[in-house]
Assembly symmetry: C2
Homo-oligomer: 460 residues x 2
Amino acid sequence: MNDAFMDQVLSFIRANRQRFLDELFTLLRIPSVSTKSEHQEDMQRCAQLLVEEFQNIGMPVVELHQTPGHPIVYGEWLQAPGKPTVLIYGHYDVQPPEPLEEWHSPPFEPTIKNDELFCRGSADNKGQLFIHVKAAEAFLKQRGRLPINVKFLIEGEEEVGGEHLEQFIVENKQKLQCDAALVSDSHMFAKNLPTLVSSLRGIVYLQVDVQGPRQDLHSGCFGGAVQNPANALATVIAKLKDDSGRVLIPGFYDNVRELSATEKSMLASLPFDEEEYRKELGVKALFGESGFGVLTHVAARPTLDVNGILSGYTGEGAKTIIPAKATAKISMRLVPHQDPEEIMAATERFIQQQLPPGVAATVRRFHAGKPYMAPLDSVAMQTATKALRQAFAKEVVYLGEGGSIPVVQSFKEQLGVDTVLMGFGVPDENLHSPNEKFNLGHFYKGIEASALFLEGMAQH
Amino acid sequence: MNDAFMDQVLSFIRANRQRFLDELFTLLRIPSVSTKSEHQEDMQRCAQLLVEEFQNIGMPVVELHQTPGHPIVYGEWLQAPGKPTVLIYGHYDVQPPEPLEEWHSPPFEPTIKNDELFCRGSADNKGQLFIHVKAAEAFLKQRGRLPINVKFLIEGEEEVGGEHLEQFIVENKQKLQCDAALVSDSHMFAKNLPTLVSSLRGIVYLQVDVQGPRQDLHSGCFGGAVQNPANALATVIAKLKDDSGRVLIPGFYDNVRELSATEKSMLASLPFDEEEYRKELGVKALFGESGFGVLTHVAARPTLDVNGILSGYTGEGAKTIIPAKATAKISMRLVPHQDPEEIMAATERFIQQQLPPGVAATVRRFHAGKPYMAPLDSVAMQTATKALRQAFAKEVVYLGEGGSIPVVQSFKEQLGVDTVLMGFGVPDENLHSPNEKFNLGHFYKGIEASALFLEGMAQH
């Protein structure tokens, strides 16, 4: 393809911005919350809409695969023999919108303010996956073909652990064979600063249920006679980390490697204002494991966080009870080369050991995902670097990402390929929080970057 | 009054059991939950019903006093000059019925099973206050007069701290003047074992709100950068008690006295099967501050319990967030001579001191009530002892009660009188829990005991 033709593709993208946005709105309006069973029908509708979308842009093969959970949507265009094949991944499920009262506009009604698109799923991940759909459309509509072979794999269970996608990958290795995977589910370091992810943190997520008396007891009549499960759970949680923020689970840090000098200097070179960041988050002071800077904490150090805790009476006013039970959701972010299964088992043992007498605890495993390191010198990474540089007219930075994208590890293990993590979000977009948003400029430039990447891969 | 006449009064009580029960049902059906603003109208209805009840039994003066909270109902009969005056206290408000799914019958529909009356408020306190109303009725209907002067004082804010009753007492010292107070809001040590309370624990109730980031954050993108308010709150709670259950707030035990030899031997003489008690509560093992038995713990040692805790995502499945805030309700039961105000202040200071960096905490004071010691040799206590002995045909025991009845302290301080705590509940009646119940035999014998007490007081 010559430069003139590529210009036409980019012009098509620019000319169709409003229509692309309208089509994204339709996708965003479906409340595809995967973790809640009440949204099961919405999940089906959302998957069906994606099937129609792939058919409309001209993908010759489009499939909807039902799973015991939510459906997987697959589309392929393989008419470029001899050219590389890229597997593009995304997810159409979103986080629950709660707490609803904190949204400034309805969570599932796309609302534009100051060039930002507010909606649950706008950045994570419907808006980002749509970028690649629209890049493919530009080629298919302008030329009737794509520059390379492309397979789309879109799941509906990313926010709940992606169990059935993992199974689908294992069972469809041949179908999913490719030279590289492309995922846009990460963020740029800052607005208009093109970023490729060099590593991902893994995750271990579990729930601890502490059981005390058969039922809630009057705290006057029984206070002093039984162990209080809420106090007991607090004690266990307190013992998971020391005052400096260091995790105390035995063996937790055993396989954690130190950053290299190059990595450290890359981190140091980033435009980062710690005070600005602190203000943005609205905290009095930043806080992390002693001896590391904030950027190192989120990019390259493991952490442990309580994601939720509930026990006893939490309504208005006072109720004088000893609760019958207490529950907490706890997750850990892992870095290369920590092993999620080992950490999960060690955590479970540690929790049981630290449990005070008089109560029982069960630990329920939710999900686990391995951490990932990307090879910076691969063809796909180099092509992505050039595409991003051209689309955003700025030099690309490489950065460790604090979040977890377990599917990247599956692509590595099951398909034997590395993944280019080319995200278009920015850190303040309220992912998993009220008022999630996505920058419209990034959406439009993202489509161009995706098109340039597909075209660039055709040169190899 | 001669014995023959007293027999008539007791016969009247026995003949009217079913009607008394029906009338109690009407009172129980009103969901008078004082802590929830949605029940404000029910509180008014309930107070109004009590006014009508007092009018129906023939009390000459009945008043409904509105307060900034819930109304106070007052009734008096003062036509026995030269005879003692007893102030009978009760409360018509009840605890919230939640968790609703654990009730075997609707919480506000009185249901009888095996001689037990199941309903929220049946024991705490509508059923118990009704005992005295019906005892008064028996005298008024049979003789047209009471043996002594009686004042009824019924409030609707006992479960939320009784702030406006306290104010009412302060402002109506003359009106409430009496020789002794009588309160039935405690329990017998065991079924058919008549019990008088020798001491009450006080209470301090507070709420801790820990504030972290402006809003919930993605735990991947931000894990490691900020202090997690749920982890921080757990840390604070864990530091309030040591592993042996001893409270670590400085000065907490300073004024706690040891039990006397007499008190210890009284406790030791009680029919108590620790294993039976453990099974009843449904716990693997009992747990209390080291070095004291269970009975001592609940009767005579101070405690600290989390009554409720809430932070982050607590719904179905997993949500990977760092919560913006975390909140806990915490109460302490105090024994003679701990000072609630001092303990409250010390707790507040201690919580702020123990708070990890990176978050802020506010401590909200809910309510405080002083502990109480009853003089066992007073006329009223001796009369109550005889009345209970006769009604239940068994020797009376004296026992420290774990619960808190702050109004008893107000009677002492504002009116200068001691209180007879003549309770008719038993410990397994699920006060403040699902399936609250009240023993019908105790209800009927209680009315007789109350009548015998009024008659007995006339002899002095």
